[in-house]
């Protein structure tokens, strides 16, 4: 759906730039944040329709903490979050994290590296 607003939270500037360009080309509005603390502030102001959230930023697990803060913030509660992470490969984890109402309140988890069209598909499924 054109005109919908996406917030990208990721500390990888190149990755963010490529996503931003792609989303804008598809007609989405885009905001960005490079770490968790500013992500909440940006989200409160921008009121995005969906948030794309990296995990490993200031700390290895910052994105997980941010997902819980989003769920606990009244203005943001209900905003769908897609976790976009390469932590399984980077930290040799036995499995990728999966959504959990209590621990990881996100709609879905996508593992990096991932083609842009799969990210777009996930966004369209959530917000059209």
């Amino acid at each position: 759906m054109k005109g919908k607003h996406i917030l990208i939270v990721d500390d990888d500037g190149d990755f963010v730039a490529s996503l931003e360009a792609c989303f804008k080309a598809k007609g989405y509005r885009v905001s960005t944040a490079a770490e968790g603390a500013s992500a909440i502030d940006v989200a409160k102001q921008a009121r995005p329709d969906v948030i794309l959230l990296d995990v490993m930023m200031t700390t290895d697990t910052e994105g997980i903490e941010v997902s819980r803060k989003i769920a606990e913030t009244p203005e943001l509660r209900g905003t769908p979050v897609i976790l976009l992470t390469g932590i399984r490969t980077a930290r040799s984890l036995p499995f990728a994290p999966s959504p959990d109402e209590n621990w990881l309140p996100v709609k879905s988890v996508l593992e990096k590296p991932i083609p842009l069209d799969r990210i777009l598909d996930a966004i369209r499924r959530l917000i059209g």
Partner: protein, 225 residues
């Protein structure tokens, strides 16, 4: 040093078994008593004797033991060896359990050096910290490893349990690392309420909270003089 009786089984992380958490907290006491009796050559023990030794009532003892599917014999009581092995099997104490500790401060080091864990079947197979000055330092037979090594140790050594012995502010972050690495049970020594998936169990060993409770109880006792 810390027993499950001190802890609270968080409601969101109760084990899959049907044994109530309050009963589970008493089972290690029964196990220790059964071990002690068997080692002393006592073959049978009554619910009354168990109750007296543990400060419980005989009916509580009988009720608790029905939960582990073990029964006694009229006028003789419970066979101590059978009671011990059934309790051990129920609590998973019949096999070694690998445990890792996060936090190489005084608390964490003391846990690693505490020999009783190994004697009770809890093999501490790693101690981790994020503080550069302590990485590589020896604690007993172990060396403190960085947090980045946690997943490899957990997967490689089939670690089931993790102990959080870090300052309160870092507790949730450590719990997140445990969950990601595949640890299935967490002993939380901080007062932080941990958020974990339903697939991970948490027991809070609330040492500080227990001390506060104790201090309050002491204040409520009438002065001796």
């Amino acid at each position: 040093m810390f027993s499950k009786e001190q802890g609270d089984m968080s409601a969101s992380s109760a084990p899959a078994t049907s044994i109530p958490a309050t009963v589970v907290r008493r089972l290690p006491k029964y196990l220790a008593q059964a071990q002690k009796l068997r080692q002393a050559g006592v073959q049978w023990v009554s619910s009354k004797a168990l109750a007296e030794a543990l400060g419980l009532t005989p009916s509580t003892v009988r009720q608790d033991i029905t939960h582990i599917d073990f029964s006694g014999i009229s006028k003789r009581g419970y066979a101590t060896a059978g009671l011990e092995s059934t309790l051990a099997r129920t609590l998973g104490a019949d096999q070694d359990i690998c445990v890792v500790v996060v936090g190489a401060g005084n608390f964490g080091r003391a846990l690693v050096l505490h020999g009783e864990f190994a004697r009770q079947g809890f093999r501490i197979c790693g101690i981790f910290d994020n503080g550069a000055p302590v990485i590589g330092k020896k604690v007993g037979k172990l060396r403190v490893q960085p947090m980045s090594a946690l997943p490899d140790v957990v997967c490689g050594q089939d670690v089931d349990l993790g102990i959080i012995a870090v300052p309160q502010a870092a507790a949730q972050q450590v719990a997140d690392h445990f969950v990601l690495a595949g640890v299935r049970g967490i002993l939380n020594l901080t007062t932080t309420h941990l958020k974990v998936p339903r697939t991970v169990a948490v027991v809070d060993a609330r040492v500080l909270a227990s001390l506060r409770e104790l201090a309050y109880a002491v204040r409520m006792i009438e002065p001796r003089f």
